[in-house]
């Protein structure tokens, strides 16, 4: 429960930044080593996790940030809530999940899976800053490979792509005729 000097400094940085702060930024600003920062972040999370606090330190989109606890959102919604108006179409969601779960992936590979041209969807996801180019495939024509962005993680409230929801074994169980 005792915050060290290092944790206090990181606490201050998290307050000053309104977007998730990644490790690199924290290292640059605080001049602390990665290990110290990770420990301090853990300590901070522990302190704010206690139910007395209305805010907490969460990891989101590859960085840490202060955010009001979810259970307070209903009281804050009216004044600070932002509705996510631009829901993605099913086609866009399909394309996005293919990219998210199979990154890095080329346009051709996406089209192969969906059976339709992916041009429009890729452009759309690009313009929403949900995907980005991550490299070129070592194959003829060196096609561009796509991956998801930090904004994607933020928009879907996912800590990291390792944190993408998994199919549980039941659903994975081959072909479910009653499912969708």
């Amino acid at each position: 429960m005792k915050l060290e000097r290092e944790a206090a400094l990181i606490e201050a940085v998290l307050l000053l930044e309104s977007d998730p702060v990644d490790l690199r930024t924290l290292m640059k600003v605080t001049n602390l080593s990665k290990d110290v920062i990770l420990l301090a972040l853990e300590e901070l999370q522990k302190v704010y996790d206690t139910k007395e606090h209305g805010i907490e330190v969460v990891e989101l989109g590859g960085g840490h940030l202060f955010t009001p606890k979810v259970e307070l959102w209903e009281f804050l919604k009216e004044h600070y809530g932002k509705k996510n108006e631009n829901r993605l179409s099913r086609a866009a969601l399909e394309t996005l999940s293919i990219i998210a779960y199979s990154q890095p992936i080329t346009r051709g590979e996406i089209e192969n899976i969906r059976g339709v041209s992916a041009d429009g969807m890729i452009k759309l996801l690009f313009s929403r800053n949900l995907i980005r180019e991550v490299g070129k495939k070592d194959a003829p024509g060196r096609p561009i490979q796509f991956g998801t962005t930090r904004d994607f993680l933020k928009a879907f409230r996912i800590k990291s792509i390792a944190d993408l929801p998994k199919l549980d074994e039941l659903t994975e169980d081959r072909f479910e005729l009653n499912g969708r």
């Binding site: 000053l16 309104s18 099913r90 969601l93 199919l167």
Partner: protein, 252 residues
């Protein structure tokens, strides 16, 4: 997103299918057949009749649907060929590649449902205001102390030089009355009452008088002040009005 269309319904809208594989999956599910043993001619027939309908109502983007139709027809024809005696037979099911693709596609459909759930959960966000936060440094405080009115004037004049002369004149015409109005507000804050003559800072200017007078009229109109005059042509005494009660309520 919705449950598959009921069986009786003959027609479906193209919008319900994200592509040929989506349509094919739908047909397989609707017919409750085993995906590993697709009755190709039956499914192909239904697939083609859908395409016919889609073409009739002039839906666009059906090229890709035709592509799969060709594949289906090809598979169908291969199925009709007499089975060659071949040891590799079981690996040579002409449907195999299509089945693999369907299963792969089905997997991503599930993934996209999971992602959609995530999207729904993230429908509302409570975010901090996006703003560069800075530290209120002591130097910052001193900045204000070190400034004098000339800094203000110089800054203002610099801004004004970047504005066309017509706009400057426009601004100036307003400024005089506004200036007097501001002076009025300043006075009513500072003292109980003051006189019209207090508003005149340059004695020989007619504009001063006119503007001061117009400012008083404005302030009376907006119920900021009450004016008194003891005798005809005497100096005008001006007093601020108490804030209106409804405004008080708003604050408390």
């Amino acid at each position: 997103m919705e449950e598959p269309q009921s069986e009786e319904k003959q027609h479906f809208k193209l919008g319900e299918f994200e592509g040929p594989l989506d349509l094919l999956l739908f047909l397989i599910r609707k017919n409750e057949v085993n995906i590993y043993d697709i009755p190709i001619s039956q499914i192909t027939e239904q697939y083609l009749s859908y395409l016919e309908y889609a073409a009739k109502v002039g839906l666009d983007n059906i090229t890709e649907f035709y592509l799969l139709a060709a594949t289906l027809l090809y598979i169908k024809s291969r199925m009709l060929l007499p089975v060659e005696v071949d040891l590799d037979e079981e690996f040579d099911d002409p449907r195999q590649e299509l089945v693999d693709r369907l299963i792969e596609y089905q997997k991503y459909k599930k993934f996209s449902e999971l992602i959609e759930e995530k999207e729904q959960q993230a429908e509302w966000v409570v975010e901090r205001k996006k703003k560069q936060r800075i530290l209120p440094f002591p130097e910052d405080e001193r900045m204000w102390e070190e400034l004098d009115v000339w800094d203000l004037l110089k800054t203002f004049s610099t801004i004004m030089t970047s504005i066309s002369s017509e706009r400057i004149i426009d601004l100036y015409e307003e400024v005089s009355i506004n200036e007097k109005l501001s002076l009025i507000f300043e006075f009513i804050e500072k003292r109980e009452d003051f006189f019209f003559s207090d508003l005149i800072t340059k004695d020989d200017s007619v504009m001063e008088l006119v503007c001061a007078f117009l400012a008083i009229l404005e302030a009376v109109k907006t119920r900021k002040i009450i004016v008194f005059q003891n005798r005809l042509f005497g100096d005008i005494r001006i007093r601020g009005r108490m804030p209106e009660p409804e405004k008080e309520e708003e604050i408390i």
